[in-house]
Amino acid sequence: MSSFVQSEFFHNYTRSTSAILGSALMVGFVLAVTAGPFLVSQNPYDIAGLNLMDSYKPPFWMDGGDARFLLGTDGQGRDVWASILYGARISLFIGLVAMVASCVIGTFLGLVAGFYGGIIDSVIMRIADIQLSFPSILIALFLMSAVGTGVDKVLIALTAVGWVVYARTVRGTTLSEIKKEYVQAAKVAGLPNAKIIRKHVLPNVMTPLIVIATIQVGTFVLIEASLSFLGVGVPITQPSLGLLIKNGFDVLFSGLWWTSVFPGLAIMALVFGINLFGDFLRDELNPRLK
């Protein structure tokens, strides 16, 4: 621990306002999401706890506001702040799980492509090329339109979109790693390929993935929100932040802005935090810039 505190990385971190702000936003978001149910008195999914008399209350500082509902309520009398805390769980869960799945699958394919080369490499990389020539949001939209709504389906669609960037990066680093002597030595020593890949190549290709993985959580949260906003993401029983915005959009023209504006600010806080911290990581982990 003390070696970490004395490290250059930690030193630069304490001197970077954006890195501190970014990680503070991320940590704050995660804490709020974890502690969510304890922070609010109302469970927005529990119909019995809702009262239609409380519907469309504005935020507490406006005329007609109610101190019980800090950010106002929606059409069912649901507390917007509580909905955000519960919805952010779904958004963050989807972003994290899809990131891990993409990372595992993409890293595996990239290692295999780089290590074995030949036809396996060509096939994997051609698929990646074709996929990269289309915007992720369009591919995800198409997949969702084919399979229908659902948290599991959003995860599949995001993973199908997200593996490519890992596969490409890992393949590139693998190609340069396997030429190095330590891999050659392991081969000469007669280690099986699977073991060489796992024990020797894998640890050396991981560093660039940290930045990609960090930024990708933010990207996934945004894509999921867009899909849900279009009505092809999560089902209404599991409203993520994107779906909350969609529901709010339907009443926006009546001037009821708070049901959609606040969930958007929540997304922004998370993704902005992730991007700030991701930018810092990129600069720190990129030896070329030092």
Binding site: S18, I130, S133, F134, P135, I137, L138, L141, F142, L143, S145, A146, V147, G148, G218, L222, A225, S226, F229, L230, G231, V232, G242, I245, F249, L252, F253, G255, W257, S260, V261, G264, I267, M268, V271, F272, I274, N275, L276, D279
Partner: protein
């Protein structure tokens, strides 16, 4: 050069073929389009007959063969909802999307390039930091939410702009566009600004990175050694080279703008082909979805090809192989 063109052409056809295969397979495994065609109280016989007419009683390979040969013959199928050829439905709505994408691109370039150049030339300045924070904000915001906030503020609250629709259109060279009427421009500003934000942020960051990269090159030091001022060197020697990568991104962003136009059009009820896609997804109007995807795939493949060509024109160090 000629050999390269042939090779690229074959590659492009290959990509389109793969896309057609993927689109076909995904569509075949999901849902049964027969129920889009027959009335609710249809008998078994009627359903079987509809199935025969649609060719759904054939095996998958045969279905794919029919699908791909009719595509090649220019038969893109009928929309289940509109009972019109799917292709003409999309082509009708294309000018609306294209004009919005172009205006968004214009806004992005006009704002991003000068700010990016400034931030790259003065990386430590206070204003540069604000610009960069703003651009990071631009990629962190959900585009549809920004559109919504703009609608609320400028359309509902201030009433300066209309909240939806395309407004009046005029005809130029046989294409109906809203870019020739004042009312049309009045309608296009909000959606185009919404659409442009993400691209603006990315172009800005690319321009800045390019400027910072060229500042480190030897020819810049040489020009400085000759006695040229820093500003002169940056803007006369640096800028041209800094913008090379921006051109590539420009092309790729065009593709992204077309994709994100689906969302922007949905928020602003803009009658373009993106909104048609979303509506068709809701209505399970399979032929329209298929044609949209094939058409957009074609557009993307062509854009990527053009970007590669332009790249070799502006950067003589790169040769086509």
């Amino acid at each position: 050069m000629f050999g390269y063109l042939i090779k690229r052409l074959i590659q492009m056809l290959l990509v389109l073929w793969v896309v057609s295969l993927v689109v076909f397979l995904m569509m075949s495994f999901t849902g049964d389009p027969v129920f889009m065609i027959v009335p609710i109280d249809a008998t078994e016989d009627q359903i079987a007959q509809a199935r025969r007419i649609l060719g759904l009683d054939q095996s998958l390979p045969v279905q794919y063969w029919i699908f791909i040969t009719s595509l090649l013959q220019g038969d893109f199928g009928q929309s289940y909802v509109f009972r019109q050829p799917a292709l003409s439905l999309i082509v009708e709505r294309m000018p609306a999307t294209v004009e919005m994408v172009l205006v968004a691109m214009l806004i992005a370039v006009v704002v991003a390039i000068p700010l990016g150049v400034y931030a790259g030339a003065n990386p430590k300045g206070r204003l540069s930091r604000i610009i960069m924070a703003g651009s990071l904000m631009g990629v962190s915001l959900p585009g549809f939410w920004v559109g919504m906030v703009l609608i609320y503020f400028f359309a509902v609250y201030l009433g300066w702009f209309p909240s939806s629709g395309r407004g009046e259109t005029g005809e130029v060279l046989g294409v109906r566009t809203s870019l020739v009427t004042a009312n049309g421009w009045h309608h296009i500003i909000l959606p185009a600004v919404t659409l442009s934000l993400a691209t603006m942020a990315i172009l800005l960051r690319m321009t800045r990175a390019g400027m910072m990269e060229v500042a480190r090159q030897d020819y810049m030091k040489f020009a400085r050694a000759k006695g040229a001022t820093r500003q002169d060197v940056l803007y006369k020697h640096g800028l041209k080279n800094a913008l090379i990568p921006v051109v590539t991104i420009f092309g790729l962003q065009l593709g992204d703008l077309i994709a994100f136009a689906t969302i922007t059009e949905t928020i602003f009820s803009w009658p373009g082909m993106g909104k048609l896609l979303i509506d068709s997804i809701y209505r399970a109007d399979r032929p329209v979805i298929v044609v949209y995807l094939m058409l957009v795939a074609l557009i993307f493949v062509v854009i990527n090809f053009l970007v590669d060509l332009v790249y070799t024109l502006i950067d003589p160090r790169i040769t086509l192989k």
